[in-house]
């Protein structure tokens, strides 16, 4: 392995990339802050989600379910199910990060799509760690700043529907889904999941169609992994 030292050129490159990703996610946090406030969460609850949950798709899911009239528990369950992929990211990162307990407890909060993508596929462990922490810190800072600005900007809106805010969450989910649809199987699963959710919707409480879909896709995945 290339050694623990990193050239200053590599270091600058990693930090520049981390800032770029931080700025991009900060822009997308603006829409999270806005959607969350419009969904009926308070400014403090919106900021708490970005500070404490800190995983975008789960946050959008929770406020999306609440905004559509579902219970916060259905939203919380959906958020946790969406967060399950972070456990797999953690597994990929475990061999790269410091094994000491306190470092691991701190690092866990930063285990998200962006930090995983930046940390894996590096030339050395030292470079992976730098990429993980630089990306984690940049995204955390700008994600929370973006959330606060987005929430403040929409806090005082009289009728959010006039501004089309009810059409914003599906577009946000679509932008999160699109990169995962690069093969035929996920495409078929996405279509199937959409149809199943709509078929269940008139008959069960709000938010529950999502949980039915989650159970069905888990059964599908387990059956497929045997075959």
């Amino acid at each position: 392995m290339a050694s623990s030292s990193i050239t200053s050129e590599t270091r600058r490159g990693v930090i520049r990339d981390a800032l770029g990703i931080g700025i991009a996610t900060g822009a997308y946090a603006l829409s999270f802050g806005a959607i969350s406030t419009v969904a009926g969460l308070s400014l403090l609850q919106t900021c708490a989600l970005s500070l404490l949950m800190f995983t975008g798709a789960s946050q959008f899911a929770l406020v999306g379910v609440v905004g559509a009239g579902g219970s916060v528990w259905a939203g919380a369950a959906t958020a946790a199910l969406l967060g399950s992929r972070n456990a797999l990211y953690g597994m990929r990162l475990a061999s790269l990060l410091d094994r000491s307990r306190w470092r691991r407890i701190a690092a866990a909060h930063f285990v998200i799509d962006e930090t995983t993508a930046m940390a894996i596929a590096r030339d050395s462990v030292a470079e992976s760690r730098l990429a993980f922490w630089a990306t984690g810190l940049a995204v955390f800072a700008l994600w929370n700043l973006g959330t606060l600005i987005g929430a403040l900007a929409t806090h005082a809106l009289p009728d959010p529907k006039v501004l089309g805010f009810d059409a914003a969450p599906p577009a946000a989910f679509l932008a999160l889904l699109a990169p995962r649809l690069r093969a035929r199987e996920p495409m078929a699963i996405a279509l199937g999941a959409g149809v199943v959710a709509l078929v269940c919707l008139p008959f069960v409480p709000s938010g529950v169609p999502l949980l039915i879909v989650a159970v069905l896709v888990a059964i599908f995945g387990i059956l497929r992994s045997r075959g």
């Binding site: 199910l81 797999l88 679509l174 995962r180 996405a190 599908f220």
Partner: protein
Amino acid sequence: MMWTGVLVACASCYVLKLAGLSLPASVLQDARVQRTVPLVPVALLAALIATQTFSTGHHLVVDVRTTALIVAIGMVLLRAPFLVVVASAAATAALLRLL
């Protein structure tokens, strides 16, 4: 109630992250886990898009949000940034309601 739900959801998401870093690799390397977990976000995000575009309460509806979603799909295909995708969908719905 809202606060409790928010905090429980935050704790659950953190525990999942920590579990990935802490559990023995054999648990998460199980073929069923590896096969199933990546499918969950695909199914849930698609179900969220469907229910939040085509329903109001417990009724299935087709309204301006459908057009907004079509615009968003076009923006994603054009590789527009996240904020542009979201803003163009909201703007479409707002404009159609003005007409």
